[in-house]
């Protein structure tokens, strides 16, 4: 059984600024982030953020944070687009909480192992570490090379029916409900204090992850933001930090998503220069229906077969932080799909779906699959995946529409498609 929710699209905007203290010391921006609402693909959003550790032993943490956002984004996209999408919500929830994190961590380690194969620690890196931290530090890194790539990770996957939040290390994820005060979906980790943090490089990293699976009953959250501690440490209290979520939502409601595109970079620069001095990253996800959108600015409906793919060029939405200084704010307008009207439960059991709505759901599922098929085709064309992969994808979608519960019969094509997509972006 699938939940009946009002369908929403999500904007996603992010920015990252090199820390003022790093500019003074010559250190690079060790934060990274990635946003994946994909141009031409609608109603789910992935946002990931990672903060590479500044400790001398973590001399490749910039690479570590990049690998973290890449692998988390990749695994979350596989999660939402894979065979699970037709499973019961309880199955999806269990999968999110039991195995998703392990896959992310394993893939992060795999990327590091590959990097080590191609780029072993240089003599310069090792001698610099020995000079600053001594032989014991060198020994620690040689026995656990992941330590050199140490980083945190915060990630959010927003879909129509559920939201997955996951986090290891410092930084914040704050959720602003449509009607209610902001809150932390994942409570404060009492183990984190001062400048110490749990880490992807930790021996118990998988166990140190915290995951929250939120089934969406009723109104979806209005806004979610992720930030590195270079941003959150500027606020003296939790209330001050939470107020940022409320204020940003208010600005977007009154002035549109453009207010973030225009101001995010300068806000982050001010934050690091005047307050924390640290690398500062903020990613904001906002429900499109709450943003003040002028009619002339509304993105076109991708399900209209006469329309071009996507509303703007794809690469700005996909690129993660690529420079030491700053990146442009990214505004993504996921495409509209047909609304699936239906009452939605929220906690107190109000508004249970009726039989009529359940029937509508079946039709809506077919419409949704058709829309996704159209969107996938459009997106595939965008990135130049082979026809074989397209045909294979369509065949799989056909099976699923007919109620065939078999798993993806050609997983290679889907993986190949996704890797090609990423490859295009990062080439």
């Amino acid at each position: 059984m699938r939940l009946q929710n009002t369908r929403h699209r999500w904007y996603a905007v992010g920015n990252s600024v090199r820390g003022a203290s790093h500019i003074r010391s010559g250190a690079e921006n060790q934060d990274d982030f990635m946003i994946l609402p994909q141009e031409g693909i609608g109603e789910y959003v992935v946002a990931t953020l990672s903060d590479g550790h500044g400790d001398a032993k973590c001399f490749r943490s910039k690479t570590g944070s990049r690998f973290a956002v890449e692998t988390a984004t990749s695994e979350l996209i596989k999660f939402i687009e894979g065979p699970l999408q037709n499973e019961h919500i309880s199955v999806i929830s269990r999968e999110a909480q039991e195995s998703l994190v392990s896959r992310i961590h394993k893939e992060w380690q795999n990327k590091i192992s590959e990097d080590q194969e191609k780029n072993k620690f240089t003599d310069e890196e090792i001698s610099r570490l020995e000079k600053s931290k001594g032989a014991a530090a060198v020994k620690a890194v040689n026995s656990n090379p992941f330590l050199a790539y140490g980083a945190t990770l915060s990630a959010v996957l927003v879909s129509q029916e559920y939201i997955v939040y996951l986090q290891i290390g410092d930084g914040e994820i704050i959720m602003v409900p449509e009607d209610g005060p902001p809150e932390r979906p994942i409570p404060v980790d009492e183990r984190l204090f001062g400048n110490e943090t749990t880490s992807l490089s930790g021996k118990n990293a998988v166990g140190d992850f915290r995951v929250y699976f939120q089934s969406i009953y009723g109104p979806a959250p209005a806004l979610i933001f992720l930030c590195s501690d270079g941003y959150s440490n500027a606020y003296q209290t939790d209330e001050s930090l939470f107020q940022a979520g409320t204020d940003i939502l208010g600005l977007v409601k009154s002035k549109g998503i453009e207010v973030l595109e225009t101001n995010l970079n300068s806000w982050l620069k001010d934050t690091t220069e005047k307050f924390t001095g640290d690398d500062t990253t903020l990613v904001v996800l906002v429900r499109e229906d709450l943003a003040n959108i002028k009619d002339s600015d509304k993105p076109e409906d991708a399900t209209d077969e006469h329309k071009e793919t996507g509303s703007s060029s794809p690469s700005p939405a996909m690129e993660h932080n690529a420079s030491d200084d700053e990146t442009a704010s990214k505004n993504v307008a996921p495409e509209k799909v047909d609304d699936d009207e239906g009452a939605v439960e929220k906690g107190n059991q109000a508004g249970k779906p009726t039989e009529g709505e359940k029937t509508d759901n079946t039709n809506a599922t077919e419409d949704k699959d058709k829309a996704i098929e159209t969107e996938v085709s459009n997106k595939v064309i965008e990135v130049g995946v082979t026809e074989e992969a397209i045909d294979s994808d369509k065949a799989d979608k056909g099976n699923e529409t007919n109620g065939d519960k078999t798993t993806d019969s050609n997983p290679v094509s889907k993986k190949g498609w996704f890797k090609s997509f990423l490859g295009t972006v990062y080439a």
Binding site: G150, E196, T198, Y235, S266, K274, G277
Partner: protein, 231 residues
């Protein structure tokens, strides 16, 4: 441009606290040297603090002899911090000092967010009260656990065991000051090099380190050469 969203923002606060033994045995040269050393370190302390404009350093001081009280109770910005001389007399209620310190390391008055505090304990003798109980009370506070804890032994009668317990990390020993130049050098080092390290700590993977391991404490200065050990 809309102003920065959210509530009040601030630089990251760093609380630097002297905990000074003013017992009767400190009378004379020791207390005079202590007063001189702290007063003399202030300009260098301000200079060290200014090297990280994103940290805001606040200084306080606690004294103990017969009982314990705050000598400078208000968290004073380092730019305006001045030293008021200590007088010596009484016993050595170091345990009460730990308890008093614990109260001030709770949140509030400590902020929810901030840099690791620096706690500098200076003593020439043996506690005359229940030091263990006071220390236990102190180490129940999160800010105490994450603080950089330094101890300076003034003279050869200082109890290194209790000072080591305060430090809480076998990698760092109490500094032994047997004359005025050593005391001056050690207090200057704590007020500058340690302050700088605490004001710009690098994020690091969580470890099981205790006391000071969260911040890379720089190597202390060597003892003054050709100086007699008079204490």
């Amino acid at each position: 441009m809309p102003e920065l969203p959210g509530g009040p923002m601030a630089k990251r606060p760093l609380h630097f606290i002297f905990i000074a033994d003013c017992s009767g045995s400190m009378m004379g040269d020791k207390i005079q040297s202590l007063n001189f050393a702290i007063d003399e370190a202030i300009p260098a302390m301000r200079s060290a603090a200014s090297e990280n404009p994103n940290a805001e350093v606040f200084v306080k001081a606690l004294k103990f002899s017969s009982g314990a009280t705050w000598h400078i109770s208000a968290a004073t910005p380092v730019e305006s911090f001045t030293w008021t001389k200590l007088e010596a007399g009484g016993v050595t209620d170091m345990g009460k000092a730990m308890g008093l310190l614990a109260e001030q390391l709770k949140t509030p008055p400590m902020p929810e967010r901030g840099l690791p505090p620096v706690l500098v304990l200076l003593s020439d003798g043996m506690p005359t009260d229940d030091f263990s109980s006071g220390l236990r009370q102190l180490m129940e506070q999160q800010w105490a656990k994450r603080a950089v804890r330094i101890a300076i032994a003034i003279g050869q009668d200082a109890n290194h065991d209790v000072l080591q317990k305060f430090i809480g990390n076998v990698e760092f020993k109490p500094l032994q000051a047997n004359n005025s130049p050593d005391l001056v050098n050690f207090i200057r080092w704590a007020s500058t090099a340690v302050l700088k390290a605490a004001s710009a700590p690098s994020s690091k993977p969580k470890s099981d380190g205790k006391g000071g391991a969260y911040v890379d404490i720089p190597t202390p200065p060597a003892k003054a050469e050709n100086e007699e050990s008079v204490w």
